[in-house]
Symmetry: C2
Subunit: 715 residues, 2 copies
């Protein structure tokens, strides 16, 4: 009993932030606003290039409220981003007061903030009265007065708990948020290409180029390259800048912005590159170029080391890849679109749980992707990406145990699922309709996107399960039953409809109720991961599909993520380790300093740079390239939650061919440390009810892990 | 045949604006953004006081496009409010070009503009390529490219025609719109009230107070009054200002804004007042006060003059009342909330058709009130106001013939009607649910708001008819049938369900299927106006309700509007003229310089100022007070369209006790002039097929009105 109470206290302490004054807003609104900044920052060869999906906005007038009960009067400080009023027990105060004294007793404090340009935000600090997530917010209080002055019935007004992040100081305005910066220099080696100079910053990086000692009158071109080839190819590099120096002024010709010439000139837009070629035209010059590296400050909480140096380097480069692509949000790649994509983000979330364990980053990305009703298309217009969004929430809940977030986002989940339900066919399955992008993967072969794809049904089924889970958390029992029933019905159809006895596999799709002849890996992988295939069929598809060379190979790290995960789930860690070394090691051998959007081991040289029909179209720093981070933590160290928020968890370490390994996985309680060689396993955990699962003498054993104490087990 | 062609050409020329370059945006977006400025400008005794309903926002990224076909190259100028790109035939150009040359032939020109703070807007000017309402816009083109670079299927992308107003110059930025201003002085008579001075500006006015010669160190209070009593009552006046003069600075304590002290100081917020009391505290002084009168420049196109001077004064004060309340939008009253209310606006629209005939003002107000999906409440939270919104569109179409607007707003109409349909009861009727404000009127007696109100069903029925009409215009045949059926069903229920034989009237409401005992005027009035009562029953309720003194009297000009209109529709112009003289003449006798929100002829003195339980709560300049403008044009001059846009119209002049009258009514063709005395009628019309309807020798005659030629008829 005592233990249970202790666990409860620990969960409480870990999951709920300590009460501290912080800037608050309507949940999701700040995230959507910041996301608009992120998503509208892309340029393509000097042209502004925004997303092609609906971008939402914050509510421009928000009411913040709290019922307070004070034993003595309290002086509070009030600050807001926007025009605001302060109402105490229904009576408005004069002006926009920055200090007021709250009287003794129970009172209703209501503050309305209006801001068209940036999200209405509020900050209150007093001895005990402080803005935090316990404040209620609404965009529509429906509080009218009639002729007699009587207030209306506001019983149906929808109040949410306020959203917040880490703006805990009155002067840290949410709208002023900026990533961190620090100066970086290029290497000493500078190459001269027909009078232009190519600067090498040593590795893939991101930030604002800075020109020193600009002078004269002329034009300066900057050509960015993730590869040297790209930076030297003025006509095809994906990003570039052009500035004019003229009569003591500098004109940014991409943004039409003019500034006075001074000792250093920092470019307006951030760029991703390793190389920059600088070309001058006319009578102008500069002394040197450097950069302001821009990054999200993340603490690396996870770790992994082993006897294999290549694996260690893969882990390090994976970490750097995820660091670069973890910005205001989890983005896809830092060079090309820098947009927030749901399928990409779903993988970043999983890697994040083994590296930064930054819940706020997951929540921010989820809010942004979910957008606001009305739903007018799939997330990012992609059907699969809608489903990854649901699944991402499922996973977030498992890793964080954060039920409050689930409750907050649940209405948006309902709106999106309503959209999906409105587009199902007579079989209750999803098919791509006009305007839907059925993505699946960038495959090196024909992928039929027509009819019922088994892959999409499996993701859809998992999304329905997620809805049922979240409906339960949100106390919406009717919906919980409805979604469970829909999920059960769909799950029951998967085998009869898609399983092909001859092929011993789930086929790729059905058109008009007829199975196609094609088998692809996708549905079979996810069938294993979500346990929609029973053990027998999992073993069957391992051989008939996963380890079958005649099935279309996967060439993106994106789908390799799930492919290798499903092999790990089947205990194939030794094979997977070799795959990781071949594939990610292969990129390192090609000189990768971050992992790529796509990699075809057969290709050589420049061919690796091309994609989308463009010679440098491929992103050489893509979040989904970093999956070994996840695989090593989840299936080698073997750490994962079995109940939400690591309230219960399993450590099932597998060397998979390594001589030894050690590492840590962050959890809501702190971390779980695992060290293993062929004869010993050591585990130390900061909390949660854990089980070590090991094979000893050919037998699986399950051993309780004590919290806070190192445990060593002989194998 | 020739005549028909001529009419067609005229309609075309009148209804479509001439092709001229103008700033364009996503339809409704600018209006909603400007509306947020309008609705969030209210202050209440120095406190910011925003609306209590959801306020929407513009789409932050909008694509503008046009297919062009040029016989020779053309140089165009491009300007945008926001970051933008320019794509010609799918290829993006460098930077944000302000001049480009379009090549010969057929080309696709696509421009994306992003702006978080103000609506993305575009302006293009070339010899023939110019931004106007023929440009297409979307907030979501769904134009993705796949790995091969191939563009997606965008067949389901929704494109709208661009919105615009009158920003026809590259330098007239839509976001910089401001009303006109001109200086006004107070009268020479200044009264000293305990050392404070009360300034009289001679009549109700609106604008920014300007203090001249501020000096010293101290505080200055400004108390505004629509009445002298209000300005002198520091503790109860509805609006006030407070500024501090300190060490050469002026601090606006309402807005927390500090400026340098200079010769004149203009207050930040506009106010409505006739009187201002200025009080100084501490060692500060000022030399004089004046104001910057702020107004929407409107041309008074309608006119009315007659032998009765009181009626002429009523027409003039009505005109001034409507001028003051016609701002960026049609608002309710200029003092108190200055918000945009649908029921109030519906009346302003009708008056506008007889005075300014400013279509843009109607459209702007309609866009703002309609808001954006999702619909989360009735318009302004008021059930009846949702219905007035539909009816307002019906009337706008009749007076303007503007089918393009109907097509533009139709999707928003569908969204709102969907919301209404989702809230009907088992009888297919509307009842107030929790959170709904069932308003009807500010009545001087108990109005039951429970159950099925006959008044609400009648407005709802008319809204369904409007939906059917607009569905037809929008080529949505399925919906047209659906709405017609719903309207027919509901109309068929009105008499059996609400008619009471004993009372010879429609009763006020039904609860659980049981008629109440109460008869009010509302449903009976609208039953006449919408012809839901047949001729026999119209005559019955004229006596049993309209002219029956025992039925609860109406004391707002708001409902007097429809009451008098229904009497006019029954030919009671002589009675109504007396009513107008009593009621509006009564306000003039009380010293009104604009018409009021409410008037109880019995009351005297200060009682006229109170409302909502506050001594000066009543608005003394309220749009709905100006209804004689409409009644005189519509039922005395007798001019109104019988087909959309005055393609056909009727002139049915009625002296109603006057000796003579003359006036003009603006139409899409120009105007219709009518002059009448007891022996002659003269009509001159600028276009449309018109009929003069007169009584000669006890017989009604219908005479063709020639276009463009004065016609005189002897009675």
């Amino acid at each position: 009993m005592k233990k249970k109470i202790l666990i409860f206290i620990l969960v409480f302490a870990v999951v709920l932030p300590l009460a501290a004054q912080t800037w608050i807003w309507y949940p999701g609104d700040y995230e959507i606003w910041l996301g608009n900044k992120m998503n509208n920052r892309r340029t393509d060869r000097g042209a502004y290039f925004p997303p092609f999906w609906k971008q939402d906005s914050h509510y421009v007038t928000v009411e913040f409220s709290k019922v307070i009960n004070l034993p003595m009067p309290q002086r509070i400080t009030i600050a807001a981003e926007g025009s605001y009023n302060v109402k105490l027990d229904g009576k408005m105060m004069f002006g926009m007061p920055s200090k007021i004294i709250l009287p003794v007793g129970k009172h209703h404090l209501n503050i309305k903030v209006h801001n068209q340009s940036t999200p209405p935000a509020l900050f209150i600090d007093g001895a005990t009265v402080k803005t935090d997530s316990s404040w209620k917010v609404t965009y529509e209080d429906k509080e009218w007065i009639d002729e007699s002055g009587k207030a209306s019935d506001t019983s149906t007004t929808i109040y949410m708990n306020a959203g917040s992040w880490n703006f805990n100081d009155i002067n840290s305005l949410p709208s002023a948020f900026a990533l961190e910066q620090e100066p970086q220099k290029h290497l000493q080696t500078v190459s001269d290409v027909n009078g232009s100079y190519v600067y090498d910053f040593g590795k893939e990086t991101f930030g604002y180029p800075v020109l020193k000692g600009l002078k004269g009158n002329g034009t300066i071109y900057l050509y960015y390259g993730e590869s040297k080839e790209e930076s030297e190819d003025m006509d095809h590099c994906e990003t570039l800048d052009k500035i004019e120096v003229k009569d003591g002024k500098v004109i940014d010709l991409v943004n039409n912005r003019t500034t006075d010439l001074s000792e250093t000139y920092e470019l307006d837009n951030s760029k991703a590159f390793r190389y920059i070629m600088v070309r001058t035209e006319g009578d102008c010059s500069y002394d040197d170029i450097s950069m302001q590296y821009e990054y999200m400050p993340e603490t690396v909480k996870g770790s992994f080391r082993c006897d294999d140096d290549e694996i260690n380097r893969i882990w390090d480069v994976g970490t750097y890849t995820l660091q670069l692509t973890t910005r205001e949000f989890f983005i896809d790649g830092i060079k090309r679109d820098r947009w927030v994509w749901s399928g990409d983000a779903a993988q970043s979330y999983l890697m994040n749980y083994y590296l930064f364990n930054d819940n706020d980053e997951v929540k921010r990305t989820t809010w942004l992707l979910g957008g606001k009703p009305p739903v007018t298309s799939h997330i990012n217009t992609i059907m699969d990406y809608t489903f990854y969004w649901f699944i991402g929430i499922y996973n977030y809940y498992m890793y964080s145990g954060d039920a409050s977030f689930v409750k907050q986002i649940y209405p948006r989940m309902q709106a999106l699922m309503q959209y999906v339900l409105g587009r199902t066919d007579a079989d209750g399955m999803v098919e791509g309709l006009a305007g839907d992008w059925v993505f699946v993967d960038w495959a090196d072969g024909y992928l039929d996107k027509h009819g019922q794809l088994s892959f999409e049904q499996i993701l859809y089924c998992r999304s329905l399960e997620t809805m049922a889970l979240c409906a339960k958390i949100a106390d919406d029992e009717a919906s919980q039953s409805k979604y469970n029933e829909l999920a059960d019905n769909l799950r029951a159809k998967l085998m009869p409809d898609f399983w092909n006895e001859q092929k011993q596999a789930l086929v790729h799709n059905r058109i008009n109720g007829i199975q196609s002849n094609t088998v692809t890996r996708y549905a079979n992988m996810f069938g294993i991961l979500f346990n929609y295939l029973d053990n027998e069929h999992q073993q069957i598809v391992k051989n008939s599909v996963l380890l079958n060379d005649s099935i279309l190979h996967i060439s993106t790290p994106y789908m390799r993520f799930y492919e290798l995960e499903s092999l790990c789930a089947l205990g194939q860690q030794t094979d997977v380790l070799n795959d990781i070394k071949d594939y990610w090691g292969g990129m390192l051998n090609e000189g990768a300093t971050a992992f790529w959007e796509k990699y075809n081991p057969g290709e050589k040289g420049k061919a690796h740079l091309a994609m989308y029909g463009r010679p440098y179209g491929k992103s050489l720093c893509h979040a989904w390239g970093a999956s070994p981070i996840y695989l090593l933590g989840r299936y080698y160290l073997g750490v994962h939650p079995t109940k939400p928020g690591y309230e219960e968890y399993e450590v099932k370490p597998v060397l998979g061919g390594l001589k030894w390994m050690e590492g840590s996985v962050p959890t809501p309680y702190g971390k779980i440390y695992v060290k293993m060689d062929k004869s010993n396993v050591t585990v130390k955990s900061d909390g949660g009810k854990g089980f070590l699962v090991i094979n000893r003498k050919g037998k699986q054993e399950k051993i309780d892990i004590p919290a806070g104490k190192e445990m060593a087990v002989k194998l």
